[in-house]
Subunit: 267 residues, 3 copies
C-alpha cells in the first residue's frame, strides 16, 4: 500500500475543549509531515453506531494509505481493546467496540493487531484520555508506515454492532432512520441496491410512508421539491433519505433516529 501520510480523525470530543488540538500536537511531534483531516468531532457523545456510519460514508473518498483514527470510546481506561485493521487500501485504528463494524462488512481485512506495544504510546498513559496517549501517537506511527504486527498480536474476532436491517413482509419494506444530518435530512438504512432489487428500476412508482406522510416516488435531487413538501431521494452515501426543501425533515416531520418508514410499490 502506498503511504499517504494522511491521518483522518473522527471523535466525539467536540471542538470546545483542547482535546482534538492536543491529539494533533502529539501527532505533529512524532510525524511532523503528516496531513491531518478532521472527518468530524461532533459525533454525539459515546454514539458508537453514529461513528460507524459516519466513518463508513467517508473512508472510500480518502486516498490509498490513509489512516483513520476514530475515538468514540466510552470504555476508555477499562478492559476494551484498541484495534488496528488494514484493508486493501486503508488502515483503521479504533476501540474494539463496534466502531469498525461497517468497515469489516464492506472491506476485506488483510491485517490486524490488538494495539498493545507501549513503545508507540506516550510515555505516561492516563486512564481517561487514550486519544492523546495511545491513539494519536499510534496513528502518527502508522501514517509513517509502521507495520501492524509491530503493535501487537493479530485479532481473530472483533466486536460488531447489531445493525438494524430492513425487513420485507407482504410487499412492504420496513426500514428505519439511522442518521439525521446538519440540514435535518433523515437518512434511512435502505440503500439504492436494496430498493432496486426489491422494487425494480422504476423507483418513481414507490410510495414511502414516513410517520403518516405519504411520498409518491423518488426525487433525483433536493431542488426538485416544492418548498415545504417532503421528498424521498437517494442521498450521497447511497441510502434512501427524507428531506424537506427549505425545511428540516427532523424538525418539520418529527423524524428521529429510530423512526420507522415503509415502502411499497404503487400508490
Amino acid at each position: 500500500m502506498t503511504e499517504a501520510n494522511l491521518i483522518a480523525l473522527l471523535t466525539d470530543f467536540g471542538l470546545k475543549d483542547p482535546y482534538v488540538g492536543i491529539m494533533k500536537g502529539v501527532i505533529a511531534g512524532i510525524n511532523p509531515k503528516a496531513s491531518i483531516i478532521d472527518i468530524t468531532h461532533e459525533i454525539r457523545p459515546q454514539d458508537v453506531l453514529g461513528a460507524a456510519l459516519v466513518l463508513a460514508s467517508a473512508y472510500p473518498y480518502f486516498p490509498e494509505g490513509s489512516v483513520f483514527c476514530s475515538v468514540v470510546d466510552p470504555g476508555v481506561g477499562g478492559k476494551r481493546r484498541i484495534i488496528a485493521l488494514e484493508t486493501q487500501s486503508h488502515r483503521f485504528l479504533a476501540p474494539d467496540n463496534g466502531l469498525l463494524t461497517l468497515v469489516c462488512e464492506r472491506e476485506r481485512v488483510v491485517e490486524s493487531a490488538s494495539v498493545e506495544e507501549r513503545r508507540y504510546f506516550l510515555e505516561k498513559i492516563s486512564a481517561t484520555f487514550h486519544g492523546r496517549d495511545v491513539f494519536a501517537p499510534v496513528a502518527a506511527h502508522l501514517a509513517q508506515g509502521l507495520d501492524l504486527d509491530k503493535l501487537g498480536a493479530r485479532v481473530s474476532e472483533i466486536t460488531r454492532l447489531s445493525w438494524p436491517h430492513p425487513q420485507m413482509e407482504r410487499n412492504t419494506l420496513t426500514g428505519e432512520i439511522i442518521y439525521i444530518d446538519h440540514f435535518g435530512n433523515a437518512i434511512s438504512n435502505m440503500d439504492a441496491e436494496l430498493l432496486k432489487s426489491t422494487f425494480g428500476d422504476d423507483l418513481l412508482k414507490i410510495t414511502v410512508d414516513c410517520k403518516g406522510h405519504l411520498i409518491q416516488g423518488l426525487s433525483a435531487y433536493y431542488a426538485q421539491a416544492p418548498p415545504g413538501q417532503p421528498i424521498a431521494l437517494i442521498g450521497s452515501a447511497g441510502f434512501l433519505e427524507i428531506a424537506l426543501r427549505e425545511g428540516s425533515a427532523e424538525k418539520d416531520l418529527g423524524l428521529r433516529r429510530g423512526s420507522s418508514l415503509t415502502l411499497k410499490k404503487g400508490k
Copy 2:
C-alpha cells in the same frame, strides 16, 4: 498568477457530518500537497447572501493564487451552473447563484468558465453532493494550476444578488443590518467610505438610531464603551456595526438581519 496551492473552503455543511472531511479527502487524493483552510462551514443552510458577505470579507487576506471553493448550493442537482472566475489575484469556484456577487463588484474578472468538463470531476456524480463530486476535485485541479478554459466555455453573465443598498433622504442615511457575528455584533451595509462621503470626516458628530437606541458618535474600538452600553464603530471589514461591550447587540438590543438603522448629523 503565482500558484499558492491553497484551497479555502466555505460551505453551509456544518461540522457535525462528514461532508467537509470527505471534500478534503477528495482533494488530498488529487492534490496531496494542497493546503486547505476553512473559512467557515457554518453559513446558515442555503444562505447565499450570507456566504457572499463572508467570502468578500475573507478573500483579500489570502495569498495570491488561492482558490476559493464555496458551496452553498440549494440548487444542487438541478440546472444551475457551476462557475469558476479568475481575478487578478485569486480564483473562485461556486454555484452560479449569486454567491460571487460581491467578488464581481469589487474585482476585475480576467477569466471565467462554466464548469462542465467531467474529466476533472469524480467518476460517479451524485445528484445531491456536488461538493464532493465536482467542487472538491475541480478545486484540487485549479490549485495545481489548471487553466480555466479547460473546464468549459467562458461565461458572459453571472447571477447577481440584489443587494440592500443604503438610502439617503432628507439628511438621513438609512441602512440595515446584514450580518450578526459570533459575538452578537450587528454589522450594517454602510461602509466607512460612504459615511465619510456623506457626513465628512468627523464621525463623532453622527447620531445612530437603531431600533430606538440612540448612539452619539462612533467609537474607535470595543473597550471604549462602558459595559452594557451600545456603541457604533467601523468593524474589521470596513462596515458600521453596533456592538455591546460584555454583551450582545443581537440579544440585548434585539437586532436581526434586516433591522434598519438610520444615521444623521448632529444630536
Copy 3:
C-alpha cells in the same frame, strides 16, 4: 530551540464567522509552509481565565518550537499590550491580560517582548481585529524563527490573573469547579499532587462533597461507574473532576464554574 514551524491557535472567535480563516490566510501569505493547529476557537467570548486553562492543558503536548497564538482579547484596540514570551521549549503570543498566567507559573521564561514593531504587522491595522492585523502576521514570523528582541523591548512584569486556590481548613479541603468540558465533566482546581500531599496515597478513602452529592473514593476511569452515578477521578490534565457515566455532571448535578466542592478523609 528547534523551529517546528507550527502555529497553534486559541481564540474566542467561534467558527461561524470568517475570522479564524482570515487569520490562517494571513499566516499562509507570510509563512506558507507553517503547520497550523486549532486548539479551540470556542472559548467563551472574552473568558480570559478559561483560555488560560485550556492553553495550559494543551501546550505541553506540542513539539518543541511550537508557537502558541492566543487571542481572547476584550481590550483590543485599547492600551493593553501584546506580549511574546519564550520558554525553554515553546513561544507564546497573547494580549497581556492574564492569558499567560499559568504558562508563567509553570515554565521558566527565557525571553520576552512587548510586541510593537510594526514591520511585522499587516500594513493597515484596524482597531477591532488584531487577530488578523497583528497576531497572525507576528505568529507567522515567530514560527519562521524571528527572534523576540526584534518585536520590541523585554517586559519586566506581565499581567496575572488571580487564581482560585484550594483552601485547607480543619481537615477539609475546599476547591471549586473551574471548567466544564464538552461531555459535561466538571473539572476542579485541585490537582493530583495536592490531593496526595494532603491525604496521602490512598485516594480511595476520600469523600468528595459536591453540592450535597457524596462520592466515596476516587475512580480510575469513567467506565468504572454505574450509569447515572457521579464519580470523582483524576482527569487527563491532572485535576480532580466530577463525571457522570452516560450523563453530564453539569446538567444532571447542576455543577457550574464556581461551584464549590469539599474533600475530606474517611466517610
